[in-house]
Symmetry: D2
Subunit: 324 residues, 4 copies
Amino acid sequence: MRDVAHLAHVQLLTPVPDDSAAYFTRMLGMVPVHAEGGSVFLRGVWDYEQYCLQLTEAPQPGIGRVALRARREAALHRRAAALAEAGLGKGWTGGFGHGPAYAFTDPDGHPFEIYYETTRYQPPPDLAAPMKNQPQRHRGVGAGVRRLEHVNLLARDVGRCRLALERSLGLQTNEIVMHDDAEEAGAWMSSTIQGHEVIYTRDALRASGRLHHVAFWLDSRDEVLRVADLYQDQGVTIEAGPSRHTAVQSFYLYCYEPGGNRIEVTTGGYLVFDPDAPPVVWSADEWAGRAGWGHPLPVTFHTYGTPSADAQATDAATTREDSG
Amino acid sequence: MRDVAHLAHVQLLTPVPDDSAAYFTRMLGMVPVHAEGGSVFLRGVWDYEQYCLQLTEAPQPGIGRVALRARREAALHRRAAALAEAGLGKGWTGGFGHGPAYAFTDPDGHPFEIYYETTRYQPPPDLAAPMKNQPQRHRGVGAGVRRLEHVNLLARDVGRCRLALERSLGLQTNEIVMHDDAEEAGAWMSSTIQGHEVIYTRDALRASGRLHHVAFWLDSRDEVLRVADLYQDQGVTIEAGPSRHTAVQSFYLYCYEPGGNRIEVTTGGYLVFDPDAPPVVWSADEWAGRAGWGHPLPVTFHTYGTPSADAQATDAATTREDSG
Amino acid sequence: MRDVAHLAHVQLLTPVPDDSAAYFTRMLGMVPVHAEGGSVFLRGVWDYEQYCLQLTEAPQPGIGRVALRARREAALHRRAAALAEAGLGKGWTGGFGHGPAYAFTDPDGHPFEIYYETTRYQPPPDLAAPMKNQPQRHRGVGAGVRRLEHVNLLARDVGRCRLALERSLGLQTNEIVMHDDAEEAGAWMSSTIQGHEVIYTRDALRASGRLHHVAFWLDSRDEVLRVADLYQDQGVTIEAGPSRHTAVQSFYLYCYEPGGNRIEVTTGGYLVFDPDAPPVVWSADEWAGRAGWGHPLPVTFHTYGTPSADAQATDAATTREDSG
Amino acid sequence: MRDVAHLAHVQLLTPVPDDSAAYFTRMLGMVPVHAEGGSVFLRGVWDYEQYCLQLTEAPQPGIGRVALRARREAALHRRAAALAEAGLGKGWTGGFGHGPAYAFTDPDGHPFEIYYETTRYQPPPDLAAPMKNQPQRHRGVGAGVRRLEHVNLLARDVGRCRLALERSLGLQTNEIVMHDDAEEAGAWMSSTIQGHEVIYTRDALRASGRLHHVAFWLDSRDEVLRVADLYQDQGVTIEAGPSRHTAVQSFYLYCYEPGGNRIEVTTGGYLVFDPDAPPVVWSADEWAGRAGWGHPLPVTFHTYGTPSADAQATDAATTREDSG
């Protein structure tokens, strides 16, 4: 049953909140709508809700929370019950711009939440759009990203995370990379006809709870290329792309925001209309060398995540000492 | 309840089947997969089913059938029962490439059907794609349309048709143009997060059962512009566009195929993530002058449909004589 | 002999200099490099010289000056002599950012100048580009126009102006619209392989010295479409386009800047490699209905110029009184 | 003095002429206009002359001839005299579609010719365009390349070739990569305001007379991306791109045509308006790591040329035996 409506927002952690905010506002063109308690909330041009990104100061970068919206009140409670039963539930909480949220983690420890009640965005006069069917006007600043598209989490055990989100949330899996040892290297999941909203890929460092990247949507490949020109001239480090992915066939451009998190701007990719579409399962051999247009991804793409594994180790040691 | 998975295919009627087939294969780049009984079945590059267009010889152009796919077997029977109860049902039938279909009409008399069982496309070797997640390879012929995007039907009473499809099929309405007399001039409906799959607009000639246009998807506005160049050089009559619509904010290019049916190639437009999104309701005043970028649509856009009203009148007279 | 290197810059007059400057900096993304005596000088991303637009406060909008750069010192003097001999010369003058300029008018009275010595742009650190072959970095603000592309002047007698610029400047004419009365309705001229740098079209109001529009370059049709979205959302009046021109086959989008001058953003169009290319001469019949993609241009496109003919009449009357 | 009007056409050699012709017609969408003596002559959509590519059967791939058009008859004879004096001349010859041509080689032995008289293309009815200013209509087949853009030759001594073409032909050099040993690694030259028409890069294998690649023009980066999709699906080997070059800042996509020659489709890049523009000179350090968007080019890009050095060695040996 489709109880999840869509990926709603993410909370990103950054040790340099001012620099990160400058990246998201000037390079991606997002608009800050609210600030509280060390966090700033930012929106894309098409967000019907108030924001899709909460940026929060923290000692190290990484993912603070992945938030999903349920299709209705009953769906929220049905999912909360399933998550509790699966031993993943953390209990009810709240947050800016939406109603009660049920917090949980995936088996790798990434923090999630799901809520139903929300507040729709009401633009101030200088951001009101001429058309009734637009939540906000275009401003001509930076990329002008439209919305949050997907989040990619690193996991020690991709298959276990994938199964948990299928069972407890009802997400659909569209593609899987299955290594010869039957260990999954990647899984692309969605609550809608979009090819991906939540992606898991195997953490090469066998750390837990790390973020691979967060992706924002643009409307054309030409716009993505334009962002690459902007990044290059503004000194934003391009890690990979612009190029075409194998999975979902989307178009990508990856960089690091100043806080260290990997950020993608993306467009394209297929929609899944078949309600019974079986996942496309790639063997390691099939997957190897299948990068779109033959472009290899750099080594860092397969190793780097936030927080870095070193940072996590240090942090864990510190925490142990603290609690000791 | 979301019982309809997606708009599946349309049957178009044409008095010049060879010329129409040449348009769809050479200009739009569609691939014929089957022929039987005066019909040829054509597909877009991304169709997971075998086809999205059945082209059938007939004395005059127009819509032969709009076919929807149900999400599952039970959903199909639930909808068949609802349609029968609403007095719209016509009974069970079949068709190339799919299982049992329940035939019905909307209140304006347009023929529809809904089915669940289908056969997925298996490309011949020369059309097999290098990637497992592609149903077919690109061929570099004409527009290379990806799939059927939506169908726009003309109706005497838009509101009545809209309500029938909401109630009997569970489609969601995203936008409505409401004239001062509370008569609806247009309604944009969908079974997915796409902005539109079925559109009704008021038939200015007060005819019944006519087609406004059928739209096929391209991946970028640049590709749509390229098709405009191709149309111009190949003598295909451009009626309107390339430009940007007000409703759904999609990008459009309209022409007439040789049989006389209006065909759109389109891209862009918003996705509706809010599960409770209320329809955007435009008053006549709000709608007037709101054409995207200020471009007026030509008069024909508001009057021409297939079959032409004259042809219908003639045909009806002929039919009465025949049956007399 | 190719003595003119290229169209260098234009001076635009505006009664609302602050509003006009806001348009050119925020909508077009131009960078101010200098201000003096009621003028601000603005540049595009690719300008090797310091600026391509001088914006000057004046009682009414219009063209202040069209400046060309000569290929070398001797070429400048050769052209000055030819202009003087043709009775068009006004004498030597100067200006910000370049050396001695020879001022002249075309037969319709539009002010021009030609110079050779120039100063190349040296960006401040925050605008320096990472590549040695770029004059300036991309900033991600508004359209980000690259350079001045062409200027279109209205004239009572197009043919006379065309012949004057052919003879005295050595410009090449690529296209002419020739009405049945052998009166020219338009002429597209260039000093390079570009399709147009200076365009003359007939002034429907039979006024003199008016400006039709000034055009700035973008790199893709997708970028032009993006500017249309920006204009619409920011309340900039779109007069025509985005669409494709017949002449030169370029892609256009026209608006009015706050001062009232018509501004185009453009891309595409052919390059003329044939050194002996005869002009394409269109009869009125051939030209009629040949608008790219069948899009008609609005009536204002054929009548509106700056200053308005009324303003000119008033101004002339005022001047006579003043001098009386 | 600008005696050369433009790069006119190239002759490519191929051991598999039918397969090569299929690539150029179906993938690039070029139109054959003539065949004689083992050669087929092909054109792009915008060629004002009859063709820009002569494809000729030969034992191994490579460049058969680079042809330039002079600006006028006197310019042709001036250049023939200069080439003869420089010891590069080979004498007068002819060829399909143009008048007398003066044959010469550059110091690395690549065959060139220059001519003035030409015949303009007259399309057959099925290729005639609706607009008078178009030489041919769009056909919607493959890439639909517009024209030949540039040729890149490998040379043992780049500087010597560059100087020869500057002195004997009057080409302008826009960029140079200068290694620490003062040996030039690359030079980008042009006869027009385009950034490049003839490129020399150092032959890593120290062979002579080899071709690096031939490049054809498309109108947008989106079109280049579309060709990458087509190549991938049709099994054409992508060597590099789509991405952005450092030199000239153009957009590239490289593949191998079936005969083994490297072919680029390209767009973008700057125009050089400054008549005195000094070449941009890159040191090895400046150049290193400056690939557009940080994309490294594959090793083959720096080593592979046609004919392969092995083939040349074998061929030379064979020739010696034959003549012995």
